[in-house]
């Protein structure tokens, strides 16, 4: 069994990671088509021993294709994912366009793989911050249901795309040289600064990224009753997100139980050396498939013993986007 595959948004940061992961995991490709906007059409991209030419995406692009890995922005997905699905493809879509549709499964393979079978041509890949939180929280939730989550994120520039990563480097150079620098991709200077996530702020004061972490987690866990609040913050890191996660469980839980559960959990690597103050760091999470979890401790502000604090890092482009999508495709 092998699949006629297309990558939509092949020239972006996640597109490049799709290509890397398909090779690394020896994904069974019958053919591979690279699709992008007209701006990138004609670009040549090496893939193994071959060189593939990026084609402009059109309504005809999906004829004869079986699987589409899509990460080309919400508007493009909104238009082309239904066309691809109608042409018989299964689309694994990395944008937020369809995530909250009741008809569309929203899947983290370590959490809710069984939801995939309900797809009607489109499967949504969750937001990167959501995936990175869900992989380590789910195995704990299964043992002792989570009642409330307070999460603060430390998000890399990659979440805003390859251009934002380049701008972070440019801005850092300017800062070090004492030069003025006006950002164009991000709304605020990224280098040597942090700022609340630059997505639109809703009437309740939460920005879109924060709202995604709340609503997507409730959908993926099939647990609309979990109370979640998030503060999403951009930090000057290239490509791995970190999160400080405060959990309130239904019943008391010990540090030891958390370690035992997470040691056996898929997609998780415990990094928790108190002696050396060595905990998850984005530089260590870069290019890793696993979510690093550490600084695990009983929350002293929950005297009933139901609270746990932990700190996690995960590669935003990899597990936060491309890897999760390819894992979904593998489950198909």
């Amino acid at each position: 069994m092998s699949y006629k595959t297309a990558i939509l948004g092949a020239t972006g940061a996640v597109g490049a990671e799709f290509l890397k992961i398909l090779q690394q995991r020896e994904f069974p490709l019958a053919s591979l088509k690279l699709l992008a906007s007209s701006r990138s059409a004609g670009k040549k991209i090496p893939f193994g021993d071959e060189e593939l030419t990026v084609e402009k995406v059109t309504e005809k692009s999906f004829d004869g294709v079986e699987l589409v890995l899509s990460s080309a922005g919400g508007a493009i997905s909104k238009k082309f994912a239904p066309i691809a699905a109608a042409a018989g493809c299964v689309v694994v879509d990395n944008t937020s366009a369809f995530r909250m549709d009741a008809d569309v499964p929203l899947v983290v393979p370590e959490v809710n793989p069984e939801d995939i079978k309900n797809h009607k041509g489109i499967i949504a890949n969750p937001n990167c911050s959501t995936i990175i939180m869900n992989v380590p929280v789910w195995p704990l939730h299964k043992e002792n249901p989570v009642r409330r989550i307070v999460v603060s994120t430390y998000q890399a520039a990659s979440g805003a795309g390859a251009a934002a990563m380049a701008e972070l480097a440019e801005g850092a150079k300017a800062f070090l040289d004492g030069r003025e620098f006006t950002p164009k991709v991000l709304p605020h200077p990224a280098a040597f600064n942090v700022f609340c996530h630059n997505s639109n702020v809703g009437p309740d004061g939460y920005n879109l990224e924060e709202a995604k972490m709340v609503l997507e987690t409730q959908k993926i866990f099939h647990a609309p009753e979990i109370l979640i609040t998030a503060t999403c913050v951009r930090v000057p890191v290239m490509r791995a997100h970190s999160e400080a996660i405060n959990l309130q469980f239904t019943r008391p839980i010990t540090e030891g139980e958390v370690r035992e559960i997470l040691s056996a959990a898929p997609g998780v690597r415990i990094v928790d050396d108190r002696q050396r103050s060595y905990f998850p760091m984005p530089l260590d999470a870069t290019d890793a498939d696993e979510i690093l979890v550490g600084h695990i401790r009983r929350d002293i502000s929950q005297p009933d013993g139901c609270g746990i604090e932990m700190f996690v890092s995960g590669d935003q482009i990899r597990k936060g986007a491309a890897l999760n999508a390819v894992q979904i495709a593998e489950l198909l």
Copy 2:
């Protein structure tokens, strides 16, 4: 009235800020003596139109001195603050050496100025992250007692001193040039990375910085019953700390009430433009006297209406250390 003043630790990052602030605020100096370890003795430091020579601190250094502003590390303070106090000085100490002593007032002037009068020669300046949290939380707590705080920090390199700031710049240059870089001051690479605070981790899993935020806040607020948990994280920022603060109050509270209280609170500046996603940022807090507060919203994970989320930034060297100490001296 003017005071014979000495700065202990005059050559560090906070020492330099002491000199700047004494001039900016036209602090009534009868004389000014700069003290440091033998390593820095003999250094010349400009101060207004004069040039002052750094002297090596000895047991005799404090004779004839009335006020000591100290920021020379815990061990130096432990040794010399009692000597200075015995010589008749009032010592405002910026280290953690005396903060939790029952005999030593721990003071944020906007919060508990009245505690100063109980001093026995030493007044402690709180930890920078504690000060930056306490200034905006106290006025809210006075109106509606805070029951629980969940805080995650985004701490600048300056908290680890001037050498750490230089190392962050060096490390960033190396990263951008693709060169290997081994940090010497900090335990982990600071540039384009984040890591859990590098203070010792206690048996409960909290590091010292986190424990300080908990215990110092309870002491300053005279409220040992407040439940507090903290995750302290170093980010690649030069000199201003940020914090995501999740609050649980005793009674329901609205966003509007929080804004009204904070608008009138001393030492606070509201920066909360949802339209432009413009919230507190460390680059804006740099060199500011106030703590910037924004991204204020009702916490949707507290359905009883008692929860508030907010994001703050404050200059670690200034309000987090030197300014707070000079404000204490002004109250004397």
